[in-house]
Symmetry: C2
Subunit: 132 residues, 2 copies
Amino acid sequence: MDKIPILKMGEFLLVTIQVDLYDRLALALENDLINMVSKTEARGVLIDISAVSIVDSFMGRILGNIASMSKIMDAETVVVGMQPAVAITLVELGLTLTGVYTALDVEKGMELLRSKIGYLPLDEENLYDDLN
Amino acid sequence: MDKIPILKMGEFLLVTIQVDLYDRLALALENDLINMVSKTEARGVLIDISAVSIVDSFMGRILGNIASMSKIMDAETVVVGMQPAVAITLVELGLTLTGVYTALDVEKGMELLRSKIGYLPLDEENLYDDLN
């Protein structure tokens, strides 16, 4: 299992990071994600890091890279589920995650993405399309 | 990282399996999931196994266990993203995943769950609640 799955949820993509990101895996994730954004025309990327308890500058850089790449592809990136200790470490490392939005959990992240891309519910069909 | 995160998406829970399930991890997942179903009053559980390329009878049993436990808690279980080779292996192993529904991807799984729990979109607000 040397691949991080990317799940399509409506117009957003969801990635759950559960394993330590080493060089090759991180590059593969960046690559897969950008291809998925292009293929699915996703408008937002949600990265759940609730299982990540140890963070280093490499992880910080990967998150920043993904956000920058997605931005160029017209998709916003929201990192969700960050543990308090991880937030403390990031600031102590001097990593401010520029260009990355954060939210407490996936649901709040989706709400944030929806507001960022100017999603306004128009009618039932639109909402349903968004879900499916 | 010895914990599989469980994400709440509306009235469903989403679990992505990316690592090999060994005894303790599988038990922890079963435990966490049932507690989450109870806490969040979730009506459905989605288990994404798109990153799983090798399956054995243990994994098959865990999936069956989760489905049975969830069922008792009044939540349906849908396994999504199964690789063709995994399906072949499961059948060859004689594991038919009784009580487990399957769908091709998360979106189709959500649709299936919605039909199983008799979810009928009534008005915009309901749909929006479901998303958030």
